[in-house]
Symmetry: C2
Subunit: 354 residues, 2 copies
Amino acid sequence: MSIYIDPAVALSLRGYEMPERLGFGTAMAPVMFRAVCQDGCWSNGELIPYEPLSVDPAAKVLHYAQSCFEGMKAYRTGEGIALFRPEKNAERMAYSAKRLCMPPVPESLFLDGVRTVAAYCANLVPGNSGESLYLRPFLIGTQADLTVSASTSYEFYVIASPSEAYHSGNMRLWVEREDARAAVGGTGDAKVGGNYAGSLLSIGRLKERGYDQSLWLNPADRSSVDELSGMNFFAVIDGALHTPALNGSILEGITRFSLIDLARNLGYKVVEGTIHIDELLGQVASGTCTEAFACGTAAIISPISVIGDDGGSYKLSQVPGPVAQHLRQALLDIQEGRVEDHFNWMLSVETVEV
Amino acid sequence: MSIYIDPAVALSLRGYEMPERLGFGTAMAPVMFRAVCQDGCWSNGELIPYEPLSVDPAAKVLHYAQSCFEGMKAYRTGEGIALFRPEKNAERMAYSAKRLCMPPVPESLFLDGVRTVAAYCANLVPGNSGESLYLRPFLIGTQADLTVSASTSYEFYVIASPSEAYHSGNMRLWVEREDARAAVGGTGDAKVGGNYAGSLLSIGRLKERGYDQSLWLNPADRSSVDELSGMNFFAVIDGALHTPALNGSILEGITRFSLIDLARNLGYKVVEGTIHIDELLGQVASGTCTEAFACGTAAIISPISVIGDDGGSYKLSQVPGPVAQHLRQALLDIQEGRVEDHFNWMLSVETVEV
């Protein structure tokens, strides 16, 4: 499909100055990709200056949270700019959309969007290892109608932010035994706003206790580990890499399944199974569990230093541990183009000078 | 607090024409109330023309569903315009806001908002019994920042729509045994977007089967009745009125607790307890359960004609039943000012001519 490039895009890009401190997701690129869908029919995409959206006060997204999103990154490689497995993000976003009765963004339109933003924003991709241009595709229901029903109109955007990794330093987790991130039969395995809104109260509570992230338990058994907000969980136990198996309430992280393949390829034993929280804390206390980390597109791999619970605080012995460091380096080496891409994970983007 | 009235409001109101067919929540009043909150400090409120909101593409509400809302109505009474227990909506919205780490809208500001919109839109309140001006207060997180954290800026709006009752005719329910509306430890008892987004898929499925609404089960036991989407459930069993007791996943409807008081006052026995779905279906089949209905601000009281389940379809013997009709009439008589307001539920609004 042909993509319309608004003539104002060039001026926006030429006038852009990179922020002195990157942070994560706060400094936005001056352009964005947009396509609209009316009664199931998608428009062509267009690249336009970044500007406020005009949203009807009765739009479904504002009242009934009919929205889903993705997180991905454009990396600076030796040869140019590349995306990491963007077709997997397209696939997951289609799944999330269907869960909320939204029309899936066609894969070709999704890829057009992320490629076009990356191509025009090539100069905005920061160059230090671990930094990248964070891309945020999202889809919102825009029909002005207060009945509880699916919207008839949608808008798809890709916005971008030159960013550092989401977490720098080690993470302190708190076992969340009160609130739940998702329900059995809920939306936990889709990347939708409601999963995140409900998690804010827990995050606020644990920050007061000096922790960074909630460790969410499975809503069915309330005793096994699911994930963190926006990140998957891994632990090294008896030398093997363990991560919770997908169960309907865990979001299937693209970094998660890529790491599983990468780790196996590097000779690690990887176990996808049930991680009972009380067993895990015992294994941390006894030293059987030597390290733990969170992974995600935004977080890459972030070592966990402590897991706090009502019963006490459990310190990991190796922070960052050798497995986390090894996998983080191996993943970044692929993403940042320092090694051969044996997995065929990277998609090069032909950059556009304006 | 002083409320700013935009001079353009008069023109908007004078030019407004009531829609020929009302529907529910589709024709919007031409004015709205707005207040903003930055770092915990609320602005004064203002009444302005209804217009699209300017929302940053990175606003928290679009990505992380940080939004909550209320539903209430302005009624045409013999003497003028009145609101039904608006302080209860203010209280519930404060609860919902806190659940999502949002600053509660102060009660006085909330009441200013709904009173001002009702006062200026008095001519838009339709006059037939069961019709009303539906008011939709809502609060959204507007900070442009992609980190998963609470917004630092918020906007509060009250929009309005001249409306019929949400449901006309009898409702056909389907027992939802697959999906869940809310989690144990989730947001089911708060009026937040995520509860509604996750319910759309179920509603879509059951409509294909010829049903209208999902009957949601409790997420802890998956075998007792919680509610419908946006409505509470009542059944008449052995002559007594039964409704599920509040349990953390049910939204506490203002119509629900008002009806409980009203019904007791009219001499009915009311039981708040656990309603096991299989028992209920047996009672419908045997005729012990004679009628069932849903209630809510939007729906008022809507009789249920059928409850469908994988095992078959269970028809209620009395549709609409005498208890539902009696309570509906008694409630509307108070709301529409035909009887003395012994409960002191109605708040008169001094109308403003423009």
